[in-house]
Amino acid sequence: MPENTHGHPEPSYLEYQGKHKGLKAWIFSTDHKRIGLLYLYTILTFFGIGLLIGLLMKLELIAPGQTIMGPDTYNRFFTLHGVIMIFVVVIPGLPAVFGNFVMPIQIGAPDVAFPRLNLLSWWIYILGILLVLSSLLTGGGAPDTGWTFYAPYSFETGTNMLPAVLGAFTLGFSSILTGLNFIVTIHRMRAPGMSWFKMPLFPWALYGTGWIQLLATPVVGITLLMIVAERTLGIGFFDPDLGGDPILYQHLFWIYSHPAVYIMILPAMGAISEILPAFARKTIFGYRAIVISTLMIAFVGYFVWGHHMFTSGMSGTALYTFSLLTFIVAIPSAIKVFNWISTLHKASINVQTPFYWAISFIFVFMVGGLTGLILGSLATDVHVHDTAFVVGHFHYIVFGGTGFAFLGAMHYWFPKIYGRMYNARRANLGWLIFFIGFNALYSPMFYLGVAGMARRYYDYLPEFHSGNIISSIGAYVMATGLVIIVVNLILGARRGEKAEANPWGGKTLEWSVPSPPPLENFEKIPVVTREPYDYSA
């Protein structure tokens, strides 16, 4: 660490010169802030690719019949879109980018507990991506099973399953190591005086997420390995011809993949809980209720996986139990929404771009959450199962929830990350177009699903045409908004105005250090005496 002997400010983490130069100074850096940005750039790249695939699919669906691609290509496209968006973009998403960048500073630590393991996680993540991508170029080409890799088709298809499945396994391993690192960091490295209930809500969310990553991911890991064993060794784990049970695969898959939804949404909720008090300029309403609901979601989230399988064949008792638990897991999410809205009550709100994202997050999250209850009810689920309704619900929660929170967090922590400001008017315009496009894209799917349009087909009946036109146009409007947002952020990072240490008046510790922060974050580890959102002084 450079000595601060001449009264010069310490160089920021962006300027700091280690033993490596250029690109190597980034890809071999163990600094949590640089690793966070490595994830950011990787995730944005693959988000762009996944988005492009999605746009092409929406173009195919703009009219009935074959428009630009046939059924085989469409099957591969929705599989790739799912695998990239879920395993490469949304699951690492907020934890790997903002968890890495912000969480250690928020708890008053110089870095995470295992900096080298942190870098290794990123390398394993890159390896997983390369494995997934290698399925495109080798063997039978991109897989066509859907991102769920359902048996028995996943070991019968002639497409290139092995690299995709092993890639997903590897990405899971990276996710486990990140979760492990964060749990230990939060246990061991909180600043003196920061008791558990003085910790900001974003680290709390990451703590809950870490446990899910740790305890759920290995189950899908072994399940994917069983698919590999099935394809290469002919062990009949899930093959009915050999005595195996395909439904058992679905159970094992969702035992992970439902909690994985909470890996996506909990950090998003954490980021929203940071943004709202900063712009409401008052303390968050019901801090402890939010903490407890975070832990409740993490816990109950393990026991609801069966609601993905209401039509697959389960005993009546299992159906009722899973349905009931699904309704129960909605309660802590609702508690959070009430707390966020109560935080805004009687606040003098500073309306800025991150606030727009946060408030629109609450809207899309509520739409996604309430339509989830329709899917959680046994009778209605049978009607809308495997229709466009599910696609609409899923994207409102996962893209609406995580995506809006991600972009909100991006606009909130941007000045801290780059030490510069973006153009607020362009950012607001981008948000508005994105928000309109998003709703136009996904809300017709609810109607289409109820009317009976099945998902995962390149074609549909003529009576579904009008809804699909709106949806496809919405997709391109949303993409336009996204281009404005990304260009604006890139311009801001390059030549925006210099940002102050605390442009929003935030009270958590990351706003007490310079923007961008120096290598080890704090000159002296702070002693915490106040609550995290204490706006009284």
Partner: protein, 198 residues
């Protein structure tokens, strides 16, 4: 950057990693439980094909190896570095004995055509196919963990040589011990499930 050392953190980290390993095997144990429940007779008869004596010997070998690595940790904490290294080598030797036994055991099964994908196995009942599929998958994954654990111990020996692990800094050694006990513990469950319950 100054050196940051926190032994408790690395111990917690190891325990968390062990949780993930238990859940990894947990998936296979669930599959085993479901298929045993559905094919009780076939699993009963197929289980009798396994060699209880070799299985029992391997159980004893692993239990002793868990004892030797625990002794190696205590020896290191008492400053007896050479004794500690010797006990680690004994642990690795026992791991090798386990693998040699496994080799003969698996070899015999292959000779009888009892391996996944063989025409003979496919001619048997579905319960037999599942039993031997699970047998090879679970003991195979376990054997892989034996190899990983042994390599971990080799690294620790190298670190002791380099002086990076010593009597006041033995957390890495203890972590290797924790991992080795996990590998041992999984076998303690595999042995009765495949060899003993009829």
């Amino acid at each position: 950057m100054h050196e940051h050392r926190d032994d408790t953190a690395s111990k917690i980290g190891m325990w968390l990693f062990i949780f993930t390993e238990i859940l990894l095997f947990g998936g296979l144990f669930i599959v085993y439980a479901v298929y045993r429940y559905r094919n009780p007779v076939a699993f009963h008869l197929a289980g009798e094909e396994l060699n209880v004596i070799i299985g029992a010997i391997n159980t004893v070998v692993l239990l002793v190896s868990s004892a030797t690595i625990a002794m190696a940790i205590t020896a290191m904490q008492q400053g007896k570095r050479r004794l500690s290294v010797r006990l680690l080598w004994v642990t690795i030797l026992l791991a090798a004995v386990f693998m040699v036994n496994k080799y003969f055991e698996w070899g015999a099964k292959f000779e009888h055509g009892l391996y996944p994908g063989s025409d003979f196995l496919y001619s048997l009942s579905q319960g037999d196919v599942l039993f031997f599929g699970l047998y090879f998958a679970m003991t195979g994954l376990h054997a892989l963990h034996i190899i990983v654990g042994a390599v971990f111990i080799l690294f620790v020996i190298a670190y002791i040589r380099k002086g990076k692990v010593h009597e006041t800094r033995w957390q890495l050694l203890e972590n290797a011990g924790l991992y080795w006990h996990l590998v041992d513990l999984i076998w303690i469950f595999l042995f009765p499930l495949f060899y003993l319950i009829h």
